[in-house]
């Protein structure tokens, strides 16, 4: 692993992307949304990729979605991966219409299936950062 001990796990948010990480620390999934046409977007853009509007705002998403696809990470590429392999890689289609690349947690491996309903959860990193992950809908 090439990453040094003193290096933070959480990428340093910029002024543009800070709302995403601030929301995560509050237990919310916050994404960009076009105030004109209502299209949600990820990752960061300053112009709506659908209608071209610059009226992009950050808005709290429902945190619910369905599993578009999944894979099982079997090798560590980052200190976070060590001691917790295999990790379920997931693409989640959130209800607002954006596809997120993320991890699926708290799930039996043989229960992971395209189309399953998932909801956002939050993982605390050793350096104090918090990142959104997803888990099966429990209610």
């Amino acid at each position: 692993m090439s990453q040094s001990e003193d290096e933070s796990w959480l990428p340093k948010p910029s002024s543009r992307t800070a709302p995403f990480f601030e929301a995560a620390s509050e237990g919310k999934l916050r994404l960009q949304c076009c105030d004109d046409c209502g299209t949600w977007t990820f990752p960061y853009r300053e112009r709506c990729q659908h209608c071209g509007s610059r009226s992009i705002v950050w808005r709290d998403a429902s945190g619910r979605g369905t599993l578009y696809s999944h894979g099982l990470l079997r090798r560590a590429y980052h200190p976070r991966h060590e001691d917790r392999l295999p990790i379920v890689l997931a693409q989640v289609d959130v209800a607002e219409g954006v596809r997120l690349s993320t991890n699926l947690v708290d799930v039996a491996l043989d229960a992971v299936k395209v189309g399953m309903e998932v909801e956002v959860a939050f993982e605390s990193l050793p350096d104090g950062g918090i990142i959104p992950v997803f888990r099966p809908v429990t209610d």
Binding site: T17, S69, H70, G97, N103
Partner: protein, 390 residues
């Protein structure tokens, strides 16, 4: 009506360096490939008046390659980047250039040297570089999305969940191609493999084993494109460029697109075949971009060789391998021979089109050749044949 570009241009020269752990610079490799192609075509360096350049993951080539080659009288020169679709694209632009008198002999060259002494095989492809900059994209490294493998593995998994495609079926693609590689002296991996050995090979990202993934190779390949008339007088049997097209789409991150299952290859292939005035049923062999086993499967479906979702059943009887009904990636492909991006399928198509493939020579009446870049984002198709348009 015959399309004006159907058979107007041809491949007259092919230059291939040694491939694999060849620790030379990309510029040196590219230069050698160009000189080999010139010799192969039987032309003098002074007759080379066009140069199209594409470099791989290490970005080791740029426009200055012509300086290393001492080419001072060029009528056409550019550096291009369409990732894995570049090789097919270069041939297309070269064909249009020679057909319209911009240049007479155009060298299309690719080189890459991702293998570094003392460094593990995949290092150049999984480096942190791709995740630099914006924190939201850097986050992907924490989740485990490093390089292209996770996205292709998940695309294959979706195909498996939706259509019941099996691991045996993906494995059969690797097994068939390895069988071809055994007949190719240039191939890096020539030892035959069984399905059982495929399943025993280490996981990378499930459902992908190491044997689902292409090799990493250093090397260079150059093809020379000229007019059909010039090619007929050439040193090598001409391989006519009968049809070509491209198809590109950007994955916008919107949940509406089923980008894992449907690529832009369908649009590209149907238009390329229309230019060649040919139908899919007339294709006698495929040279398909195979960065992963799944790329072959999805391309066969997108091209229409079988219905969407039926790719697994289509390949499982060994149809793609030696003796099969649809010889595919007859040199072993990127999985087993060498990974020169889109030049891997292009070079084998030229060898086959000339009838110079020796033991692995397959029916070459109509060869369809694909290039894929990104996560099924960028696509090129070239249709080649030893026969000119009728």
């Amino acid at each position: 009506m015959n399309h004006p570009m159907n058979g107007t241009a041809a491949v007259s020269g092919l230059g291939m360096t040694e491939m694999g752990r060849v620790y030379r610079s990309t510029v040196d490799l590219a230069s050698e490939a160009v000189y080999l192609a010139i010799d192969d075509a039987g032309i003098d360096k002074s007759e080379l008046d066009g140069l199209l350049i594409n470099s791989g993951i290490t970005r080791g080539l740029d426009l200055h390659l012509h300086v290393a080659l001492g080419l001072q009288e060029l009528n056409l020169l550019t550096f291009m980047q369409g990732y894995g679709s570049s090789a097919g694209q270069m041939i297309q632009y070269a064909a249009m250039a020679v057909a319209n008198g911009l240049a007479t002999n155009v060298a299309c060259v690719f080189a890459d040297a991702p293998l570094v002494e003392g460094q593990r095989t995949g290092a150049s492809y999984s480096g942190g570089r791709r995740f630099g900059g914006d924190a939201l994209s850097s986050l992907q490294g924490l989740y485990g999305f490093t390089g292209a493998i996770p996205m292709f593995a998940m695309a294959a998994q979706r195909h498996m969940d939706l259509f019941g495609t099996t691991r045996d079926q993906l494995g059969q693609i690797a097994v068939s191609q390895r069988a071809w590689a055994g007949l190719n002296e240039r191939a890096t991996k020539r030892e035959p493999i069984t399905l059982s050995e495929y399943h025993d090979s280490p996981w990378v990202v499930e459902p992908f084993h190491v044997l689902d993934c292409c090799l990493v190779s250093n090397g260079a390949i150059c093809v020379i494109v000229t007019s059909a008339e010039q090619a007929r007088d050439g040193q090598q049997p001409p391989v006519y460029i009968r049809g070509f097209a491209q198809g590109h789409r950007h994955d916008t991150g919107q949940a509406v697109s089923d980008s894992a299952i449907r690529g832009p290859g369908s649009r590209s292939a149907s238009r390329a075949l229309a230019m060649a005035d040919a139908s899919l049923g007339e294709v006698t062999q495929c040279q398909l971009y195979d960065c992963y086993t799944y790329t072959v499967l999805v391309t066969l479906e997108d091209y229409g060789f079988c219905e969407k979702g039926e790719g697994g059943a289509f390949v499982e009887d060994g149809r793609l391998g030696p003796g099969g009904a649809l010889p595919t990636n007859t040199g072993g492909g990127e999985l087993s021979s060498y990974y020169m991006w889109g030049m891997t399928p292009v070079s084998e198509a030229v060898i086959q089109g000339r009838g110079q493939a020796g033991e692995r020579q397959s029916s070459n009446d109509l060869i369809i050749c694909s290039g894929n870049g990104g996560m099924l984002n960028y696509h090129s198709t070239v249709v080649l044949s030893p026969e000119t348009a009728s």
